[in-house]
Structure formats: structure tokens, C-alpha cells
Amino acid sequence: MDSTESFPVRKSVPWRTLDTEALVVDVKGGLLYPLNSVGARIWDLCDGARSVDEIVGVLAAEFAAAETTIRSDAIEFIERLADAKLVSIERRRRGESR
């Protein structure tokens, strides 16, 4: 995944934030995905306006962990969300409109 040109976008699925966690429903599978606080923050940031690079930057500012760790974890998590068809990945150059 090219983290500067990949823009994750949440699919239009039912979801809720409770406490600091998120609950996301895969309607096609009829399943509920509970996300911990870091997962919930990534989910929230997958709004199509931020690249993966920018999401990593936000997380690095908010969580006390090495940026390299955050980057690999975030990319892996976003790829899992994409595999579950809960997010789509839009590819475009920085500054290009959606």
C-alpha cells in the first residue's frame, strides 16, 4: 500500500462509538466487529479526506508509541478492514479532489 496516495473510506455501514470503542456491523455477513480505542480512532479517521500517511501522523500525535510501530499496525489494520469490505481504498495523488 502506498501510504501517501491511499485514502481509506469507511463504507456506509451501521456503527456506534461506545466509551472509546467502536462497534461496526458487517451487514452482508450479519456480524458485529468490536474495535478497541486505537481501532476506533483509525475507523473514525477513515473518512476519505486523509491518506494513510496522514492517519499515521494523527495517531502518532495522540498515542505514545513509535511511529514505525504505529505505521505498520495502522496499515495492517486498514488492510484487514478493506478485506472485510468495511472500508474501500481510494488511490489518488495528494491534493486531487475525490
Binding site: 455501514v13 456506534r16 461506545l18 451487514v27 450479519g30 458485529l32
Partner: protein, 267 residues
């Protein structure tokens, strides 16, 4: 002479069941006897034996809902309903005149409209308040119901939870599990004391669940197909409210009547 229409009351809904032949009416009155009611119907069910037998793969139960109209399917029966006119047409297939699976789906759908849920759970009333025990098959719902002694059992398999002016209530249903009809002998309701998600063990243990854990545990146990976005959206709202209002625990338990004193100590 006017047709006698059985009335069945579940979780505050009174269903007037019309269109039954004498044999079907007798079956319905026997199957749902503790839940027969004299109150005025709030929802009309018209049964038509028009669904033909179709060999093949059993389709999944389904709920679709569009504005005031809804459609339910639970093989081999289907139902089409109108929320505004408060009526539903059952197309019964071979088998029971009022297919319990489809009737349960109808109750679950209507309960959802009222901000409640039909949960895969047993419930026992202890000193006027209901403990609800949920979990997948084999987790111990019927086992706990069997430990009730003289405490009323609301059901061993299916419990209706609905909000009221006094808080959440647990309501009996006629949809019993492996404990058989003995587990659906009373049509009572009681204020909800707490929700326990079960795990069988050789000793008692518990852990308080956070609201998000409660929703995660309850979601798969709600007796509704969850492949309709509007249904799951509504369901998340209801479960979040339930989790905020009612304490919930993960409960490991041994099959021992000491469970009732153990539950007293939950904080």
C-alpha cells in the same frame, strides 16, 4: 356464527389470529395456551395456507422493512405486514398453523419497533426482579432455568426485553428451548435486575462488562436476521441504550442452586 379467533399476548402485544381452520385453531390454542389472552388485539395476524412446499435449499430467515411495510421469511413460511394498519398476512407452509419460528420473528421485529429486543436467553425472577442469562446454545441457559426451584421461569430460550416507564422489563415468551413447554408455562414480566452472559465452569466467577462488551455479547444473541442495514442500525441503538441502563456480567457458573446467593453479591 362468527369465527373464534385466538388471541395471543407476548410482551405486551396482543395478536388476534384469524383465518385458521378448526384443526389449526385447536393446535394454536394448545401450543400457546399460557399466552392466550382476553384483551383486545393490538395486531392482526391473518393465516393463509397458501405457501406451497418447495424442495431445495432452506433459505436463511430474513427481515426486510421499508417505511410502514415489512416482510419476514422463516422457511417454509412467509409473512407480509403493514405497521400502520397493524396487520400481517402469514403464508403458512406445511407444518404448524402458526409457525413458531415465523411468529417469533414477527414478535422480534415488532419489539424492535418499540425499542426492545428478543434475546436468545433464559430468565428467572428472584424476589420480583428478573435475571436474564444469555449465550449461545450449550452455554447453560436451560441449566440455570432448571435451578430456579420455586422462582418463576420466564423462559429457557427466548426472552423479550423492553423499555417501560419504570425501566427495562423482562417478559416471558412462548418460544421455549430444550426445556420444553414446561419452560413457557407463565406469561409474566418483571423489572430487569441484570444481564449475565454465560460460560459453564466448575465454580462461580464473574466479570462486569463494559457497555461496548455488553453490546458485542448481546448482538449475536438477538433473534433477528442482521443483514438489513435499517434493522442493524435500530438494533445498535437499542442495545447501546440497554447497555447504558442495565448492569451486565460475564458469568461462569457451576450447576448449583447456590447461584442465587452468588448473584446477590454481584456489584
Amino acid at each position: 356464527m362468527a369465527e373464534r379467533t385466538p388471541r395471543i399476548e407476548v410482551a405486551g402485544f396482543v395478536f388476534g389470529v384469524a383465518g385458521l381452520a378448526a384443526e389449526g385453531r385447536a393446535w394454536v390454542e394448545g401450543r400457546y395456551r399460557p399466552f392466550l389472552s382476553r384483551r383486545a388485539p393490538t395486531f392482526g395476524v391473518h393465516v393463509r395456507a397458501s405457501e406451497r412446499y418447495r424442495p431445495g435449499r432452506t433459505p436463511r430467515p430474513s427481515v426486510t422493512w421499508n417505511d410502514g411495510c415489512f416482510a419476514l421469511a422463516s422457511h417454509p413460511s412467509r409473512a407480509d405486514g403493514d405497521l400502520t394498519r397493524r396487520r400481517v398476512a402469514f403464508r403458512a407452509g406445511p407444518g404448524p398453523a402458526l409457525n413458531p419460528d415465523l411468529f417469533r420473528l414477527l414478535c422480534s421485529f415488532l419489539l424492535m419497533q418499540k425499542g426492545g429486543v428478543l434475546l436468545h436467553a433464559s430468565a428467572v425472577v428472584d424476589r420480583g426482579r428478573a435475571w436474564v442469562f444469555s449465550g449461545p446454545s450449550g452455554s447453560g441457559k436451560t441449566t440455570i432455568a432448571g435451578l430456579a426451584d420455586d422462582r418463576p421461569v420466564l423462559n429457557d430460550e427466548t426472552i423479550a426485553l423492553r423499555p417501560s416507564a419504570r425501566g427495562w422489563e423482562a417478559c416471558a415468551t412462548p418460544f421455549y428451548g430444550s426445556g420444553g413447554p414446561a419452560m413457557a408455562r407463565v406469561n409474566e414480566r418483571a423489572p430487569l435486575r441484570g444481564l449475565c452472559f454465560l460460560r459453564k465452569a466448575d465454580r462461580f466467577a464473574h466479570r462486569r462488562l463494559s457497555p461496548s462488551e455488553t453490546v458485542s455479547r448481546a448482538f449475536p444473541e438477538v433473534m433477528l436476521p442482521k443483514r438489513d442495514a435499517r434493522v442493524t442500525e435500530r438494533l445498535l441503538t437499542t442495545l447501546a441504550r440497554l447497555a447504558a441502563d442495565v448492569p451486565a456480567w460475564e458469568l461462569a457458573f457451576a450447576p448449583d442452586t447456590a447461584i442465587w446467593s452468588y448473584l446477590d453479591g454481584l456489584d
